[in-house]
């Protein structure tokens, strides 16, 4: 009797502890700007774009973040699989509803781990919740796990979402921009922007201006919160080739041949353990009676 009630109290405490635990996690550095922000890193294989996205709610889904990035920075995108998956980003990926059309290449989904590193996403972008200070990454490439898929570059939300300096007003200043690096051919007409930590630290020759994206894409120049760095393989032009294939989240089903074998082993193991336990209990109760 006592033991039973005691166990009940244990159940209650464990339930409370487990439910409370997830709530205690999360919460990274917030942007200095007003309102919630999240950093979005998109690597399409040719270049890497880092965008500071202002959230329109305390928490948004991974898909909503991409929509917001499109509205705020002109990021091109396309959803598929009934709008639940990311097929196309920054000009790369299949245009249809089948995000796996180009498998083994697909859009891998990453979450920033709060220490500038990355964790392979385990859930879909439609159900993942992003809050203030979070970092999200999408990379185009092959590889079904976080170990084999190309990883986005180390990113800190503070390096992407830089607080606008009160003196340097965003786009309209014509003064030469305070870039420590000598520029061979400074274009005087180029709008300058407040220096962003990530771009000035990188050995990039790309100007730090708002967004230097594909000229044909005619992006909206923004507050200088978007920076772009050429990726190591910058020779490739980011032209949207129809050969690009994509996936939104995680590995495609049935991708690896070893999976069914592993599943079979697991089932056999589980059944053996269950039957073994049952036999043991039965043997014991026979001894007891």
């Amino acid at each position: 009797m006592g033991a039973r009630l005691r166990s009940f109290a244990l159940v209650a405490s464990v339930v409370l502890a487990t439910i409370g635990a997830p709530a205690a996690t999360g919460g990274a550095a917030a942007c200095a700007d007003e309102g919630p922000h999240a950093a979005l890193v998109v690597g399409n294989g040719a270049r890497i774009v880092k965008l500071c996205v202002t959230l329109d709610a305390a928490e948004v889904s991974g898909l909503r973040l991409i929509e917001l990035a499109a509205a705020q920075h002109g990021l091109s995108y396309g959803f598929g699989l009934g709008g639940a998956a990311v097929c196309r980003l920054d000009g790369v990926g299949p245009g249809g509803d089948d995000c796996f059309a180009e498998y083994p290449d697909f859009w891998g989904y990453w979450h920033g781990d709060g220490r500038e590193g990355w964790a392979w996403a385990g859930t879909g972008a439609a159900s993942y919740r992003i809050g203030d200070g979070d970092v999200e990454g999408w990379t185009w490439g092959a590889g079904d796990t976080g170990a084999t898929h190309p990883k986005p570059p180390a990113t800190d939300v503070g390096g992407v979402c830089v607080a606008p300096e009160p003196s340097a007003s965003p786009s309209q200043t014509q003064s030469p921009k305070p870039n420590p690096k000598p520029e061979p051919t400074p274009k005087p007409s180029q709008p300058s922007s407040p220096p962003s930590a990530s771009s000035s630290a990188s050995p990039s020759t790309t100007p730090v201006a708002g967004e230097t994206r594909d000229p044909s894409a005619s992006p909206k120049a923004d507050k200088g919160t978007a920076t772009e760095e050429p990726s190591p393989s910058a020779a490739i032009s980011p032209s949207p080739s129809p050969s690009g294939a994509v996936l939104a989240v995680g590995p495609p089903s049935g991708g690896s041949g070893g999976a069914p074998v592993g599943l079979l082993v697991a089932i056999v193991l589980g059944v053996a353990l269950t039957v073994g336990g049952w036999l043991r209990l039965r043997g014991r109760s026979k001894v007891a009676t």
Binding site: M1, G2, A3, R4, L5, R6, S7, F8, A9, L10, V11, A12, S13, V14, V15, T18, I19, L81, A84, A85, W118, A119, W120, G122, T123, G124, A125, A126, S127, D144, T145, G146, A147, A248, V249, G250, P251, P252, S253, G254, S256, G258, A259, G262, L263, V265, A266, L269, G270, V271, L273, T274, G276, G277, W278, R280, L281, R284, A288
Partner: protein, 263 residues
């Protein structure tokens, strides 16, 4: 008096299995944990009331699973969301099952007794916390019965004030008694001796080591990202099974192959 494995081995096993359940929502790994928890319970359960706690925790696990999955009805209901909620619930339920197994094969109070001397006060508080709620519930039943015997028939709601005072008083008295008895047995004193202290047998050490290995493998997969621990639910896909992780989980079944009675 139990003569099973060292409680430390069970602590290691339960934390290892709990850690594995905590970092994954893959139903293959989670259901394997259910199977091996059942196997370990069947091997080591002690005849008596404590063994009932496994059933109780199993019930709690199923209720948790149902509640967590049912929460999806408050939002958009589609296969992806239901699967996601189900897997989250399954993870919680697995942790409960692991804890129920731990509870059924070892005595929580024996575990509290293991606490080092300098942690005397936390251990005492833990012992009280573990005991005061069930004791209070037990004394509710006692007072109820006493009232019934005296012919007092009041509705459960009305009888609440009449119930509260004796129950609270009894609970407080019992807590003080427990603290005094722990003190009298030398908890928190320098010269505390252990009556028939249990030693670490070789199987117990092996169980602890294998459980910690399993936890480390899963944690490295969780932080290193070299295996899929959370199967994609949008779009829905069959979970992948990583042989290394399967092997790590199988390590947790080791207590099922060790007879504790002679240890």
């Amino acid at each position: 008096m139990r003569t099973g494995l060292h409680p430390g081995a069970w602590i290691a096993w339960a934390s290892g299995a709990g850690m594995v359940a905590f970092v994954t929502t893959d139903p293959v790994y989670l259901l394997l944990l259910w199977a091996l928890a059942w196997f370990v319970y069947a091997t080591h359960r002690v005849p008596g009331p404590e063994a009932r706690s496994f059933r109780l925790f199993l019930l709690a696990a199923l209720i948790t699973l149902g509640l967590r999955t049912g929460l999806v009805l408050l939002g958009t209901v589609n296969p992806s969301n239901v699967a996601f909620a189900f897997l989250e619930g399954l993870r919680l339920a697995t942790i409960l099952v692991v804890f129920g197994t731990f509870n059924a094969v070892t005595d929580p109070f024996g575990v509290v007794r293991l606490a080092p001397r300098r942690f005397h006060e936390p251990a005492l508080a833990a012992a009280l916390a573990l005991s005061i709620a069930p004791r209070t519930v037990a004394s509710v039943a006692n007072v109820r019965e006493a009232q019934r015997l005296r012919g007092i028939h009041v509705s459960p709601l009305r009888s609440l004030p009449a119930l509260a005072v004796p129950v609270l008083e009894a609970g407080m008295e019992q807590a003080v008694t427990l603290a005094e008895s722990m003190d009298a047995r030398g908890h928190g004193r320098g010269r505390r001796s252990r009556y028939r202290a249990q030693s670490w047998s070789r199987p117990a050490a092996a169980i602890a080591a294998s459980a910690l290995t399993a936890a480390v493998v899963f944690l490295s997969a969780s932080f290193g990202g070299w295996a899929v621990l959370h199967p994609p639910t949008s779009p829905l896909a069959w979970p992948e099974t990583e042989p290394i992780l399967l092997g790590a989980i199988a390590l947790l079944a080791l207590p099922g192959f060790v007879r504790g009675g002679q240890g």
